[in-house]
Symmetry: C2
Subunit: 129 residues, 2 copies
């Protein structure tokens, strides 16, 4: 019982950093985008589109804008034709990667246990019928 993990955060509606960040971490494409940029360094729009499997053009645009607004990545635009835009993680963005990796490692390490639990759970409810 360590207590106090969530100090005064519990009752905050808006300015709870946990909710806020978890919100961003949780959305479908943001963290995948961050990881891709961390893996490959600087990437252009279409390179990201190719790397992040399944993302739509629209969502890539939205995701990139949000991450840029949060200061996690930098957008460098070359005013030429055809256009060329490069995205790179900022220092702030890079700093997110290690915490993300601990989560990633946890996921890899415990996924078997979770899958097993899910099947067990499924069989239980099934057996009851």
């Amino acid at each position: 019982m360590k207590k106090e993990i969530l100090r005064k955060c519990e009752n905050d509606r808006d300015d709870c950093p946990v909710k806020d960040v978890l919100n961003r971490v949780g959305d479908k494409w943001s963290m995948l985008t961050v990881i891709m940029l961390s893996d490959h360094g600087t990437l252009r729009f279409n390179e990201l589109h190719g790397l992040i499997d399944g993302i739509s053009q629209r969502m890539l645009t939205v995701t990139l804008k949000t991450l840029e607004a949060d200061g996690l990545l930098e957008r460098k635009m070359y005013p030429q034709i055809p256009p060329k835009v490069e995205y790179t993680l900022t220092t702030l963005g890079e700093s997110l990667v290690p915490p993300l990796m601990t989560l990633y490692d946890w996921a890899n390490a415990h996924m078997p246990a979770i899958k097993a639990a899910r099947e067990r759970y499924g069989r239980v409810t099934l057996a009851a019928s």
Copy 2:
């Protein structure tokens, strides 16, 4: 350029542990619930309802079921009237807390920078008009 963070995970649709776990981490109430249970140990339904500010009865039920199905918490029911049900993190659930805390710490540490970035971003687009 560390490469290979996302090894062969990029193109997987379903069995990508990152997507799967991030999906759970990202939903509105799961991690808050886990943290509450980590903070307080064993809790009853209504205690959780009181602690997690703003959660609806329905979502608490859904969240608890999902977490139970994933093997992250254990549900102990006392067949009495009125009913009494206790929820406790499993070992697996407890193991999620440290990775979660690194994320929480990151959030606390960098929230000012993110807020600043958001305001800067807002002012930029404003200045353009």
